[in-house]
């Protein structure tokens, strides 16, 4: 039932979303088609990542607002909290710079794959903890949808660049079930935080790619 509701929410969210999200509907044909110039999917992915970047802090703030103090306290941050199932976005500049395009894309793709699954989990968690908060549910759903969209765009880029697309895998496994409410709140915090960080990193990655493959 939650899934259905989430879908409904997505659909309702889908309508008013402006240009960047509309691109999502064009994705399947793009990803399926034979190698074409990578500049177009890069440009699309970059636009979407930029658009996502605008909403990440809103998502995080909304999420924290619903979790109660101390999460909702102004300036809350717990960088020490990490999830083993979610690769951290933080990377040293040297390491990042040393990566090639394929590596960057692969990592970002892996991260957003994990993020989509984690956002689904966070959405479920919050339907238990905050069942009367449709705004939060909607934002988490929207973020998940955008992450999926970016995944699709990245797959298109990898196809265009002739890179292998890593298979989808279950990043969550059995671990999260039975987590305590506090763990779920923290997990949601980490996921929404990392979603923002990974989006920032994706914008940076794609900007680099865009410079390399001008339209």
């Amino acid at each position: 039932m939650n899934d259905e509701r989430a879908k409904d929410l997505m659909l309702t969210l889908f309508r008013p979303v402006p240009a960047p999200l509309c691109l999502l509907s064009l994705l399947p044909p793009l990803s399926l088609s034979a190698p074409i110039s990578p500049s177009e999917p890069i440009s699309q992915a970059y636009s979407l990542a930029l658009y996502m970047q605008k909403n990440t802090s809103t998502l995080l703030q909304t999420y924290l607002r619903y979790q109660g103090s101390p999460f909702s306290d102004p300036g809350f941050a717990a960088p020490e909290l990490q999830l083993s199932s979610l690769p951290p976005a933080a990377v040293s500049f040297k390491t990042w710079h040393a990566m090639d395009d394929a590596e960057r894309l692969r990592r970002a793709q892996g991260a957003f794959l994990a993020l989509t699954q984690h956002l689904q989990l966070v959405g479920d968690d919050q339907s238990d903890l905050n069942p009367d908060s449709p705004v939060l549910q909607a934002q988490i759903g929207a973020a998940r949808l955008r992450a999926q969209g970016l995944l699709g765009n990245m797959a298109a880029i990898m196809t265009a660049l002739g890179l292998p697309i890593p298979p989808e895998e279950d990043t969550l496994g059995l671990v999260p079930f039975g987590a305590s409410a506090f763990e779920r709140k923290c997990r949601g915090y980490i996921v929404t935080r990392e979603y923002g960080h990974w989006t920032d990193r994706a914008v940076r990655d794609l900007a680099l790619l865009k410079a390399k493959y001008p339209a």
């Binding site: 109660g68 101390p70 020490e80 903890l129 905050n130 305590s180 506090f182």
Partner: protein, 1123 residues
């Protein structure tokens, strides 16, 4: 006793809890130590007192035991025979061998009062079967023949049960609950007997006693496993807990001592930490307002602990484990209240959900709409503060059928709309519903017992249809979903006539299953638009359904219920009869009136006009002016109305006077005296009085028993005159009873009466006016107002009459038949302003004004002219006569012989003469001087006009004249002009000095004094040439003029009679001046002699101004010394 024990434990429990709450573990330890001693004291005391013996008896028994021991000591050397028992069946006795006797030398123990009572043995302890109550002598024989004797009594035996063996100790860490199980081994004891258990919980590692509890059980001869649960305040994860148990047995048939067993070995419960969770309890749901302890298991130092935003003091457990205690926790928000412990490198936390157990469901109400399902609704009451999985689950169960239905929660559910549907079982009417709400904190329920047939709130009726039966009856049918087969329905039909009243009719209908229902509705009006709607309930009323949708229906037509209102008028020529009728009101027309039939019948003939279509309500028939009966019939699609009849002729009535009436608003009130002859009704017709005959605006019929009516019509307009005629109806026809003219509202006239002046005399005016036409009068004429006032046309003052102005004269003419007015006592030849206004009760009309001048009063004028003329003539004649008679005297007085000027004596003579007349005093200013005046040229007469001509250029030509002077040597003789005139007009000479006065008067009569322009037009020189002193002030303007020309000549009071300039100018240029030379010689008067002087023209070089001044001064200097 047992009460006191419970109290002790109660105290302990409380105290322990308090300590735990408030103190750290080491403090709790102290409390435990403090508590321990009294507990034991209590126990030992109780042990002695437990038997049913009274306390005193126990004391005596003790004494006896001591005595026996003392006795045995005396009799044998064996000491301290002590017997205990574990199960009251076998006594285990030990004793100490007497001094000098080895314990191994015991031969036998004999109990005297028993058969085979000697037991062979070789030790100092023996197990013997329990002895019967009472003293028993026990002899212990030793090998060496030594014998010890004891008296053994059950009272001396201690009952010490075996240490209980706890079978199992387990812990539920999620609830922090310890479960203890043990076997009471009751089969080993006689039964029934009471067992008292004591369980202690110690918190490791300090072994602090955190719980000590005791309770009783009854041993029933069987082995029974007992359970004990205990929930720890501190989560069990945070400390290892140890549990021990002991007991004692209280068997009332055993009179010996009852002693606690030993504590069982401690069993421990400890938690194996996993890496994920470090804070406890996790996700606990607790009652808001309660207290709770959270603990954190940590390997590193915990820096802080907080709940929500509030930091709490840390309670250190052991190691780095800490706890915080929360008192009176408040209701959590949806996602719970976070409890967070912070270490140097990590954050640990948990969430607690504080809320309330479900409130008792309120306003539980169950009803059915259709006998298929029962809808129960309720209000959850106080919010629990718990959501999601912790929210309240409701279950509705029906106890008679045993069915229950869970409540499914929907996202959009609000607190007010908790509803649950219960499928009805066929045949079951009585229902006993219980609604139970549960959440993790508890449950609550409420119940309702109903007979469902009394709780029916039907669905809204649908498919409402209307079918005509007749013009006044219809049937309504509707469908009502549901199975109402066993009950009667009560339905309401609302009947609403268009725009007006609503009527509700009830109908009871036998219920049916999924059926349509039919109801006849009668007593409707034909051809009327109705709106129907229906709602239903049951006979055992519970609730109405909602109203069905409205259905509009027009009933069918019926024949008109009566004929139209009819009236008739003969045309002005009397040849045609005009028949009028009124359209029937809708409730009497009973349909759409299509046409009218009109027929006129007399004894001889019948004329009829048929099919006069509806909008026409008038017909004209050519008839002889004789008696006819006119009948009018209205027809609609259903048929014809009964005819309404009226006689064509009126019954004459000579006794009619015209009355007046004024209405109010748009209505006019008429009343009349009842007339028994009038049997049918009264008719009042009215029309606008200005219309020509036959005039009929409208009429009304009033029942014959009425004596008054109010006529109201939108056609009525204020200020319009209407004629009202009251007719009475008899069997023979209508008779005019009264004729009334009236206004709905009187207004002021819009025109003024047209008036003319018929006659005017010197002191009166006759005014005549005409009537104002009725249309312009706009009310009953009440009179005229006539104003008059002196005044001329276009004079602002007379334009309007200011009320209250004293000059205005007002006449109020209330006799409206008066058409003329004579205004008397006016002044002749005066303009009058006349104004005439008419007025009604509505106000004053406009004014009409006129200016009339009264005729001249000729006699008066004549008299006014003649009298002054006659007086003047008479005065003149008398004066002439007197002058004539006294001419010698006058001559002597005014014209004496002129003496020789060289004779100075003449001066005295002249002086006396001059003093006689004040008019001649001016002459004094020129006293005769002995100057010799040589007159070369003399000017005798200087006509005024010539002076005028000459004087004006005086200032322009001073040089010319001055040049001429020395050559001509003109000597001007000075002489007042009056004398010159005397010469010119000898006839007036007689008047002498007075003639000057008369002349001036006459002049002023014809020339009004206030004519400055005219006077200015006169050359100032004329006046300047001669000025009688009397007129000096009058001619001040002239003087100003003169002063402007000659500044030096400023003497106002007196002025020398000569004008130097005049002289200067006149003398050389005037041709006539030479002529007058001779005249100068010929005449003379004393005055002229006095004033005569030698005038030496001023020097040419002198300016005219200095010349004048020089003359003036010189003149003065010359004259003064002579004075």
């Amino acid at each position: 006793m047992s009460e006191s024990r419970v109290a002790e434990f109660g105290f302990f429990t409380k105290d322990r809890t308090a300590c735990f709450r408030l103190t750290a573990p080491h403090t709790a330890m102290g409390a435990y130590s403090w508590w321990k001693e009294p507990s034991w004291m209590v126990d030992s005391k109780r042990r002695r007192m437990t038997p049913n013996w009274p306390w005193l008896l126990s004391a005596l028994t003790l004494l006896q035991v001591n005595a026996v021991q003392a006795h045995s000591l005396k009799r044998g050397s064996a000491q301290d025979l002590k017997c205990t028992t574990k199960n009251m069946q076998v006594w285990d006795c030990t004793w100490t061998a007497p001094v000098g006797v080895s314990p191994g030398t015991v031969k036998e123990v004999c109990i005297k009062d028993r058969l085979n009572s000697c037991h062979r043995l070789e030790s100092t302890n023996i197990k013997i079967a329990a002895l019967s109550p009472g003293d028993h002598e026990v002899a212990i024989n030793y090998l060496n023949g030594f014998q010890s004797k004891f008296t053994l009594n059950e009272n001396d035996v201690s009952l010490i049960p075996d240490t209980p063996e706890s079978l199992d100790l387990s812990a539920d860490f999620s609830t922090s609950t310890l479960h203890l199980r043990w076997n009471d081994r009751g089969s080993a004891f006689p039964y029934p007997c009471n067992a008292t258990w004591e369980i202690k919980v110690l918190q490791n590692p300090s072994m602090e006693l955190v719980k000590l509890v005791s309770f009783n059980t009854t041993l029933s001869g069987r082995d029974i496993v007992h359970h004990w649960n205990w929930t720890s305040d501190l989560p069990l994860q945070c400390a290892t807990h140890s549990v021990g148990i002991r007991w004692y047995i209280d068997y009332n048939r055993f009179s010996g001592y009852k002693v606690w067993s030993d504590w069982s070995p401690l069993k421990n419960v400890s938690w194996t930490p996993n890496s994920e969770t470090n804070v406890f309890p996790q996700d606990k749901v607790i009652l808001a307002g309660s207290d709770i302890t959270f603990c954190c298991v940590s390997q590193t130092k915990v820096l802080s602990g907080q709940i929500g935003k509030t930091f709490c003091p840390l309670i250190h457990l052991y190691g780095e484990n800490v706890a915080i205690h929360i008192r009176n926790i408040s209701v959590s928000e949806n996602s719970g209240t976070n409890v967070v412990f912070t270490t140097e490198d990590n954050v640990y936390g948990t969430v607690v959900f504080a809320g309330y157990p479900p409130d008792i469901p309120q306003k539980l109400n169950c009803e059915t709409h259709d006998f298929k399902e029962i809808i129960c609704s309720w209000n959850p009451g106080r919010p629990t503060g718990l959501v999601g999985p912790r929210n309240t689950d409701y279950t509705l169960s029906e106890s008679i059928s045993g069915k229950s239905v869970p409540f499914k929660r929907f996202e959009t559910l609000t607190n007010e709309s908790y509803r649950l549907a219960f499928q009805m079982l066929p045949g079951q009417e009585i229902h006993n519903f219980t609604l139970t709400g549960r959440n993790p904190l508890g449950h609550a329920e409420s119940a309702v017992f109903i007979n469902i047939t009394e709780r029916v709130a039907p669905h809204v009726p649908v498919s409402l249809r209307v079918k005509d039966i007749s013009s006044t009856v219809v049937t309504l049918s509707w469908h009502l979903p549901g199975n109402f087969a066993k009950i009667n329905l009560l339905c309401q039909v609302e009947i609403c006539k268009a725009s007006s009243e609503r009527e509700v009719r009830n109908a009871t209908i036998k219920g049916a299953e999924e059926s349509s229902y039919l109801v006849a509705v009668d007593k409707l009006n034909p051809y009327t638009l109705y709106t129907f709607r229906v709602r239903c309930s049951t006979e055992t009323f519970w609730k109405w359904s909602k109203w069905s949708n409205e259905k509009r229906h027009l009933t069918t037509e019926a024949i008109p219920s009566r004929g139209p209102d009819t009236w008739r008028e003969w045309s002005s020529d009397g040849k045609n009869l005009i028949i009028y009728w009124k359209p029937l009101p809708i409730n009497e027309a009973n349909g759409k009136i299509l046409s009218y039939n009109v027929s006129c019948s007399s004894n001889e003939e019948t004329q009829s006009l048929s099919e006069i279509l509806d909008p026409q309500h008038r017909a004209e028939i050519q008839l002889e002016k004789s008696d006819y009966i006119i009948s009018v019939v209205a027809k609609n699609s259903a048929g014809s109305s009964p005819p309404s009849k009226i006689a064509s002729m009126e019954i004459p009535n000579d006794d009619i006077i015209v009355e007046q009436a004024v209405g109010m608003g748009k209505r006019i009130f008429l009343s009349w005296h009842p007339d028994p002859n009038m049997t049918c009704d009264y008719v009042i017709k009215w029309c606008n009085s200005s219309r020509s005959e036959p005039c009929l605006m409208d009429w009304i019929k009033v029942p014959s028993n009425s004596t008054k009516t109010v006529i109201e019509s939108d056609q009525f307009q204020p200020g319009v005159r209407y004629n009202f005629y009251l007719y009475g109806c008899t069997n023979q026809g209508y008779q005019l009873l009264r004729s009334i003219i009236g206004y709905i509202e009187e207004l002021a006239p819009i025109v003024a009466p047209n008036f003319t002046v018929e006659d005017t005399s010197a002191d009166s005016i006759l005014v005549k006016w005409e009537d104002i036409p009725v249309e312009e009068l706009r009310g009953f004429l009440r009179g005229y107002l006539f104003y008059f006032q002196k005044g001329e046309r276009d004079t602002p003052k007379t334009r309007t009459f200011e009320t209250g102005h004293s000059d205005i004269k007002l006449k109020n003419i209330t006799d409206i038949s008066q058409k003329t007015l004579r205004i008397a006592d006016l002044q002749g030849k005066t303009s009058y302003h006349l104004v005439l206004r008419a007025y009604t009760h509505g106000g004053l009309g406009p004014e009409k004004s006129m200016f009339v001048v009264t005729k001249e009063n000729s006699v008066g004028l004549i008299i006014a002219i003649l009298i002054p003329v006659a007086v003047a003539v008479i005065v003149g004649v008398v004066t002439s006569i007197l002058c004539y008679r006294k001419r010698e005297w006058i001559k002597e007085t005014f014209y004496p012989d002129i003496p020789n000027p060289e004779n100075c004596k003449a001066l005295q003579f002249q002086k006396s003469i001059c003093e006689g007349s004040s008019a001649l005093k001016t002459l004094e200013m020129n006293p005769c001087t002995p100057n010799n005046v040589e007159v070369l040229e003399s000017r005798s007469i200087v006509p005024k006009i010539e002076d005028t001509e000459i004087i004006s250029p005086v200032a322009e030509r001073p040089g010319e004249s001055s040049e001429a002077d020395p050559e001509n040597h003109v000597v001007v003789s000075y002489c007042p002009p009056i004398i010159e005139e005397e010469i010119a007009n000898p006839a007036a000479d007689e008047v002498g000095g007075t003639s000057q006065v008369v002349y001036i008067d006459v002049q002023s009569m014809y020339q009004p004094q206030a004519k400055p322009e005219e006077e200015q037009g006169i050359d100032p020189g004329v006046v300047a040439a001669y000025k009688p002193q009397m007129r000096l002030p009058i001619n001040s303007a002239v003087e100003d003029f003169a002063a402007a020309e000659d500044e030096a000549d400023k003497t106002a009071g007196y002025r020398p009679q000569a004008n130097v300039n005049t002289w200067n100018l006149v003398s050389p240029d005037s041709p006539r001046s030479t002529d007058s030379n001779s005249e100068i010689v010929s005449f003379g008067s004393p005055c002229s002699i006095n004033s005569r002087q030698f005038l030496i023209p001023p020097k040419d070089e002198d300016s005219p101004k200095s010349n004048g001044g020089g003359w003036s001064f010189t003149n003065f200097f010359q004259n003064k010394p002579n004075d």
